[in-house]
């Protein structure tokens, strides 16, 4: 029996919805308000709530720092990679028109990928910062 049953039950109830909402803000960002940064923060907030309720050790099993670090770099590389691919296809850096045969499809694809890169990096860095602060006191 845990010492904080209410907190843990509520956290268990909320965390999946927070993560789902994060993904919604991420992938609906092309059409409505939202985008990678907000989505990354919401996603990270879900995992931080998990860490607050169940402790740092369990959170580090779910989101191992050894995985988060490369992810924080990969998000940036995804962003820059989209820019470079556009450049190789004959456009400017980040010229989304050149990502697909149809410019409008290219714009869609470009924004989706770039925002996904932002989301990955922001979520990973947010959690890493949280771990760094919490880990210090232990």
């Amino acid at each position: 029996m845990s010492a904080r049953p209410v907190l843990e039950a509520i956290a268990k109830l909320l965390v999946p919805y927070i993560l789902l909402f994060g993904l919604y803000v991420q992938f609906h960002g092309d059409y409505g308000p939202g985008g990678g940064f907000q989505a990354g923060v919401i996603f990270a907030a879900g995992l931080i709530l998990y860490a607050l309720a169940f402790g740092l050790d369990k959170a580090m099993v779910v989101a191992p720092p050894a995985l988060l670090r490369p992810l924080s770099a990969l998000g940036v590389l995804l962003y820059g990679g989209v820019g470079l691919v556009a450049m190789l296809n004959g456009g400017s850096f980040l010229g989304y028109d050149h990502l697909a045969a149809d410019p409008i499809a290219g714009q869609h694809l470009g924004v989706l990928l770039v925002e996904f890169g932002v989301g990955i990096t922001v979520a990973a860095v947010m959690i890493l910062i949280f771990f760094a602060f919490v880990g210090r006191s232990e």
Binding site: R69, P70, S72, A73, L74, G80, G81, A86, F93
Partner: protein, 494 residues
């Protein structure tokens, strides 16, 4: 095809190399990769300079958005000049970094160290090349945040407080710049520098414009370490790792000076900045105070790194003094000193880094008798010191010559005299080191010290030789600086 993309690649290459560096994980690989990238950025800067030599001004529209709406990169002689020195210093310092970093940074932090160094480089190059006022702020934050991290990695625990102090002061500066840019945007509805210059011209009486101007000058003044806003600098330079001190001293304040010149001349224009706002009457006393007071304080420092840090504050005073003279010669002198001071301080701090490699923290007393035991390192320090003083045949002489010329041209004899007096102060603080290193015996019981490896000596001497080369052959530096200065005064991009 690749030639058209060079302005973007100048920043994109180090920016994307940074996360790759983090992924490489191992310190040695990260270093080798970062070194290769720094050489590539230097090659790009040289290629951009040759494009300008062929008569065109390379520009770039990000994401295919045309200029006033999208982010534009624009290279003229001024930016190409600063790009060359920043990427050149990076290319000289990174080969040096491995040995020094292996000694000063714990292995698990080495990859992060090189990641932050590349990010800082990307930010500094970006500030120099961008034609967009808001983009300048973003890149300034990239380079600043990276440099706070780099300073905090110093071995001494005081590096943490120094980095924190710099973080607070730097953030205030960046916020002021952001407020200034925001006010300009409110007033004109544009962020593109060339477009801003056109739209500001009829608004000279606007109170909002005056406020924006004040915020920008003070904000950049903080990043520039303009006296009396320099308080963050001595500690940051003194406690940062050797490589970081050399890199930041040679590039960060220079790029801030570039930003000041860009805002004063290209965006606000000479007529507004000097005739209406009288900026030179603020810059002149502050520059003279910086030159004299920081040189005096430098004489009484026991920590040699700290001594050179105060000397940097004084040298920044020479550069802003060039601006305060409001003449083509004065601006030429400021630009020349920007380039030349990067070479001198780069060489001096690398030589000190080599001493630190053997001795740890460099106190003046600890350097006693080193002249015999580390002849090449100390010889590099002496030549760098002579250049700092302004002895003929070195770059220091070239920039001081133009500065004194500009002061006499303006009829300000006392200023010319003060420049000479301040040079004598530089003789004093450099002589203290020379005297201790060459004319005092190694203290009894001190462990024997040998010369540092070639990996540290070669980059140091490369910069020392650059000090001599550009002191003799001034065609490139003076030619670029004069043309850029004349263009800035005429209000046309050259």
């Amino acid at each position: 095809m690749i030639a058209a993309h060079l302005p973007a690649l100048q920043v994109v290459v180090p920016l994307l190399a940074a996360p790759i560096c983090l992924l490489l994980g191992r310190g040695r690989w990260a270093w080798a990769f970062a070194t290769a990238v720094s050489w590539l950025t230097l090659a790009i800067a040289v290629a951009l300079l040759s494009q300008i030599g062929n008569g065109d001004l390379p520009g770039y529209a990000f994401g295919d958005w045309p200029a006033p709406w999208g982010i534009e990169y624009r290279v003229d002689r001024l930016s190409a000049f600063v790009l060359l020195i920043v990427s050149g210093i990076a290319a000289a310092i990174l080969p040096y970094a491995w040995r020094s970093v292996a000694r000063e940074i714990p292995p698990e932090q080495q990859a992060i160290f090189f990641t932050a160094l590349l990010l800082c480089l990307a930010g500094l190059l970006g500030i120099t090349i961008t034609g967009d006022a808001f983009n300048l702020f973003v890149l300034l934050e990239i380079s600043s945040l990276a440099s706070y991290t780099l300073i905090a990695m110093g071995r001494d625990r005081r590096a943490l407080t120094a980095a924190y102090q710099y973080l607070i002061m730097g953030t205030i500066g960046a916020t002021f710049i952001l407020i200034g840019v925001g006010l300009l945007y409110m007033l004109t509805g544009t962020l593109n520098m060339a477009d801003l210059a056109i739209r500001i011209a009829p608004l000279q009486e606007s109170r909002t414009l005056h406020t924006a101007f004040a915020f920008l000058v003070v904000g950049i003044g903080l990043k520039l370490a303009l006296f009396p806003l320099h308080l963050w600098l001595p500690n940051a330079y003194a406690y940062a790792p050797s490589v970081v001190t050399a890199f930041l001293a040679a590039t960060a304040t220079k790029v801030a000076l570039y930003a000041l010149i860009r805002f004063l001349y290209t965006i606000f224009g000479v007529a507004f900045a000097f005739d209406a706002m009288l900026t030179h009457w603020i810059l002149l006393p502050l520059s003279l105070a910086a030159i004299l007071s920081a040189s005096l304080v430098a004489i009484f420092q026991d920590d040699v790194k700290r001594m050179l840090a105060y000397s940097s504050v004084a040298q920044i005073g020479y550069m802003t003094l060039g601006l305060a003279l409001v003449s083509v010669t004065g601006l030429t002198a400021a630009l020349l000193h920007l380039f030349n001071h990067a070479l001198m301080k780069g060489a001096l701090f690398l030589a000190l880094g080599a001493v630190a490699y053997r001795l740890g923290p460099v106190r003046l007393t600890g350097m006693a008798g080193l002249g015999r035991q580390m002849p090449w390192t100390l010889a590099a320090f002496v030549v760098g010191g002579l250049s700092l003083i302004g002895v003929p045949l070195t770059v220091g002489f070239v920039s001081k010559w133009y500065l004194i010329l500009a002061a006499i041209e303006a009829g300000w004899w006392p200023v010319a005299a003060l420049i000479l007096i301040a040079s004598l102060l530089a003789v004093l603080y450099i002589w203290r080191v020379v005297e201790v290193a060459y004319f005092r015996p190694r203290p009894a019981g001190a462990e024997a010290v040998t010369e540092v490896p070639l990996a540290l000596l070669a980059p140091t001497w490369a910069l020392v030789l650059a000090n001599l080369y550009f002191g003799l052959d001034t065609r490139l530096t003076v030619g670029l600086a004069e043309t850029a200065a004349a263009g800035l005064f005429a209000g046309v991009a050259r």
